[in-house]
């Protein structure tokens, strides 16, 4: 049985380096972009908007991506999936980042809402809402108090239920071998918390949270596909992140029971949910294109015919065409190099996707994709590596007493 694992020096260096780059970018933003000055309604101080828009995009994206790991654990637990047990510690490690990123995201969201950033969410401005029939109609849902309470409850529930799932798994390491009765009871306990998590997840990531955090940037516009679209984005990136960590650990000789069969299944998730994302992307786009109603097409007008045209179609190539053609073959899902490349590409693609969800509504035609944006992304990646790495080096990498471990060891696709 593999005992806990010492992080290699290069991992620590990369973590520190990324966080360092991120902190520099953040400080640069603080000093140069004057984040606490008002943007002005003519967009004369766009760099202050840029600061908050980039933070919003990154905190929401990375929080949803790490939270997708716990969704993966919850779903496989409920489906009685045994195959993932050998690699289960990896999604557990990634989901242990949720409290940190959740706190950061909450801080950023609160600063935006209570700092009166009506350049990000124009519904936070009371005068605007009072003279706007559409916003007035939505004000029961879109108001700072509801937003804050709902966000706080959501992040708290993700954190507490995820923590419970992780601690159940970690406790089993010390509990010794479970007989049939004990194992049965333990699995049932897992099922209870996994179902609670999935219900919360469905009511938040699957519906309300993307409405509040992202769709309310364009508060006049709405799409019923939006939440599923966001979820698909974050889940496929989450699976890619899991794949990256597995490849990293396998290359260090860890995760002895994870074979290419498991890697193949992770690759299938990346492939399948890339296609699922495209399905939602297209369904949302085509219905609006077909109906051609002015209040709906506004969202796509700036993206398809405005300055975002290049990014909009690049998005489709990165997140659909590449995964479809490259990950289709069985051999490529089992090839570490190709899978790593695709995982990085998919995460980057969906990060860009979130960027083009946030920027048109906030920055209008002044958005930039420069080192500042990537620096803030580096900060979040560094935090994920730091917390996940801490989890991986503290605990055994194989849940050795999990009743389904044997099933995972002999897993064969």
């Amino acid at each position: 049985m593999s005992q806990s694992f010492e992080l290699p020096g290069s991992y620590k260096k990369w973590t520190m380096g990324l966080i360092g780059v991120g902190v520099i970018a953040l400080l640069y933003g603080f000093i140069v972009y004057h984040p606490f000055t008002h943007a002005g309604h003519g967009g004369e101080n766009a760099s202050s908007t840029r600061f908050w828009a980039v933070l919003l995009q990154n905190c929401v994206f990375w929080l949803l991506v790490v939270n997708a790991s716990m969704f993966f654990i919850g779903v496989t637990t409920l489906a009685m999936g045994g195959w993932q047990v050998a690699l289960r510690r990896v999604p557990e490690a990634i989901s242990s980042v949720v409290p940190v990123l959740g706190a950061i995201a909450f801080l950023i969201l609160m600063s935006i809402v209570w700092g009166g950033r009506d350049d990000i969410y124009h519904w936070v401005n009371k005068e605007v809402v009072a003279n706007d029939k559409i916003l007035l109609g939505k004000s029961g849902f879109l108001n700072p108090v509801f937003f804050s309470i709902f966000s706080a409850i959501t992040i708290f529930l993700w954190w507490i239920l995820g923590k419970k799932m992780r601690s159940l798994s970690l406790e089993s390491d010390n509990a010794g071998h479970m007989d049939y009765e004990e194992g049965d009871r333990w699995i049932k306990k897992n099922i209870i918390y996994a179902s609670l998590f999935i219900v919360v997840f469905g009511l938040t990531v699957g519906s309300t949270i993307p409405w509040l955090w992202l769709m309310s940037i364009d508060a006049h516009w709405y799409s019923t596909m939006y939440s599923w679209y966001t979820f698909a984005s974050s889940f496929v990136s989450g699976m890619s992140l899991i794949a990256l960590f597995i490849v990293f650990l396998k290359n260090r000789g860890q995760l002895e029971y994870v074979t290419e069969e498991h890697i193949h299944d992770i690759g299938k998730f990346m492939f399948a949910f890339s296609v699922f994302w495209t399905y939602l992307w297209f369904s949302q786009y085509m219905l609006i294109w077909y109906a051609n109603m002015p209040e709906e097409t506004g969202y796509f007008k700036i993206r398809v015919f405005g300055p975002y045209r290049g990014i909009f179609f690049l998005n489709l190539i990165l997140n659909f065409v590449c995964p479809l053609l490259i990950l289709m073959k069985k051999a490529s899902k089992r090839n570490y190099t190709l899978l790593t490349f695709m995982a990085v590409l998919i995460i980057f693609g969906h990060w860009i996707d979130f960027w083009q969800m946030v920027m048109p509504g906030t920055m209008k035609d002044k958005a930039e994709l420069l080192p500042f944006e990537f620096g803030i992304a580096a900060l979040f990646i560094g935090i994920i590596m730091w917390r996940a790495g801490a989890f991986l080096s503290k605990h055994s990498l194989t849940p050795k007493n999990h009743p389904f471990l044997k099933e995972s060891m002999i897993h064969h696709t």
């Binding site: 297209f282 077909y290 289709m328």
Partner: protein, 197 residues
């Protein structure tokens, strides 16, 4: 008939756990396994038998892109050249509206093509009578069929299967091919070197 009548030694096993080592032993001894008929799909049996990866999915991909191209070329020709119609003020080249049909045709071509290819590879067709080596292969018996060549000593093969744990052994003569020719299962395969047989 392309294949002609051939002679087979048929060994029936009633347990998966006996079948697997038997398959390995038979292959190591150098006998040519014609096929193994099982009542349900047995995990890993294809590897044990040394079957190569099927090329059915490559065929499926080709059928799929054929469907995509067919749909797109047909619709773009019909709606822009042959009979342009003004539908809701949309452009004649209305790509988003065609995507669902393109998708459906891709799936249709891939699915139908793969079913037909599968039938061809397995030599299944209406009005073609297939020889059953043992009727209980569809119920509860694992039936291993070994093809005899000119040099095979069938008594020896029978004794060998007896040793390997077969419950019932007999010799049968059967047709192996039909008018479209036979899909030959390769016996020397990449897994052999990997597993050290």
């Amino acid at each position: 008939m392309a294949g002609g009548i051939k002679k087979f030694v048929v060994g029936c096993f009633d347990d998966e756990a006996v079948l697997f080592p038997a398959v390995k032993k038979v292959r190591r001894a150098g006998y040519k396994i014609h096929d193994v008929y099982t009542p349900f799909p047995v995990h890993g049996l294809d590897h044990a038998m040394g079957l190569r990866e099927t090329s059915l999915h490559t065929a499926g991909f080709i059928y799929g892109i054929t469907g995509t191209t067919t749909a797109l070329t047909c619709m773009s020709w019909i709606f822009t050249k042959d009979w342009p119609l003004n539908i809701g003020g949309k452009p004649h080249f209305a790509l988003p509206a065609w995507i669902p049909i393109t998708f459906e045709l891709t799936v249709l071509f891939a699915a139908v093509g793969m079913v037909l290819t599968f039938c061809y590879l397995c030599q299944l067709s209406p009005f073609v009578k297939k020889h059953h080596f043992h009727l209980r292969a569809t119920d509860d018996l694992f039936v291993m069929v070994i093809e005899c060549t000119d040099k095979t000593n069938d008594a020896e093969v029978q004794a060998f299967l007896q040793d390997a744990g077969a419950k019932e052994i007999n010799i049968q003569h059967a047709e192996t091919g039909w008018w479209l020719g036979r899909y030959d299962r390769e016996q020397k395969l990449y897994r052999d070197t990997e597993l050290g047989y």
